[in-house]
Amino acid sequence: MINVKINGQNKKLKNKTNVADFLKNNNIDPIGVTVEHNLEVVNLENIAKIILKEGDILEILRFVGGG
């Protein structure tokens, strides 16, 4: 079990997972969001390379631009 913080909330992940799979498993389309991993913005092409580890902080902010 891995303890991570997603959008300010503590979560437990059962298995090691990368950011791309995390988004997919949570029905989040990567092109619609900005992702920060441990306060660093992640380029979309790199999200599959980042494996979430104990204590990681992930911020997923949807592109909200309508008015």
């Binding site: 619609g32 900005t34 949807r62 909200v64 631009g65 008015g67």
Partner: protein, 247 residues
């Protein structure tokens, strides 16, 4: 300029300690530009005018379409195909004749934006696309004009306040990577009630700034409202060292 208007209209807000007569005078003297007179701009403009913000600029080049009417509360069926800027001005003047309203029924561009912005104390970003949002953010930061950004998408909304003179983080710190063309060309759903909440909060943050309560404004923070879960999350934002706008 001293208030020459009947204060009875403002009696209930004059009772608020943070406003009073001196705050009302500040509101009456203030100059606020609202970019976009749609789902966000409608409630923002309405509450600014209601509060007696004395000088309002309104920038929108669009005409009213039937599909606007689920959320753009300044307009009705008789206004279809008419200029948003002209109709909004007419409605707001009827609502509060004390307020001076200048309209800019033109598209904001790199060429005209600085000339328009320079006349205002605060700018509200209530547009409907990222290209214009980035443009307004750049120009406001460069001109040291505070910017109140609001945006909605489906049942979510966001709000943040950018104060260049205090060197706060900017919109491009929050969204450093521009959305893909695929995303920007997609048409999203918007519910009027969500735009109403965010637009009203934009008016509130603007009024707070005018009253000198900027320490309470959402600077270096972003509010994320989720209408499904009824949650308001406030997240800290920070300046990015490589931000092309505010570094």
């Amino acid at each position: 300029m001293q208030i020459q208007v009947d204060l009875e209209r403002y009696r209930r807000q004059l009772l608020i300690e943070a406003i009073g007569k001196s705050g009302q005078q500040k509101l009456f003297d203030a100059k606020v530009l609202v970019c976009g007179a749609g789902g966000l701009g409608g409630p923002a403009l309405t509450y600014l005018a209601a509060a007696g913000v004395g000088n309002i600029g309104l920038c929108d080049f669009d005409v009213i379409e039937p599909s606007n009417l689920n959320r753009q509360i300044l307009y009705n069926c008789k206004d279809i195909k008419k200029s948003k800027a002209h109709i909004a001005k007419k409605k707001l003047k009827k609502f509060n004749p004390d307020v001076k309203i200048k309209i800019y029924p033109e598209k904001l561009t790199e060429e005209n934006i600085s000339d328009i912005l320079k006349n205002y104390d605060v700018v509200i970003d209530a547009v409907d696309n990222f290209k214009s949002r980035y443009l307004i953010n750049r120009a406001a930061y460069k001109s040291f004009i505070p910017l109140v950004c609001g945006a909605v998408c489906e049942l979510e909304g966001i709000l943040t306040v950018i104060i260049p003179k205090e060197n706060t983080s900017c919109l491009q710190c929050i969204y450093p990577i521009k959305p893909s063309t695929e995303l920007t060309s997609k048409v999203f759903g918007i519910l009027g009630a969500i735009a109403g909440i965010i637009g009203s909060l934009q008016a509130l943050e603007t009024i707070k700034f005018i009253l000198g309560l900027q320490h309470h404004c959402l600077k270096n923070k972003i509010l994320i409202f989720n209408g499904i879960e009824n949650t308001y999350r406030i997240r800290t934002t920070s300046k990015r060292k490589n931000c092309p706008v505010c570094r």
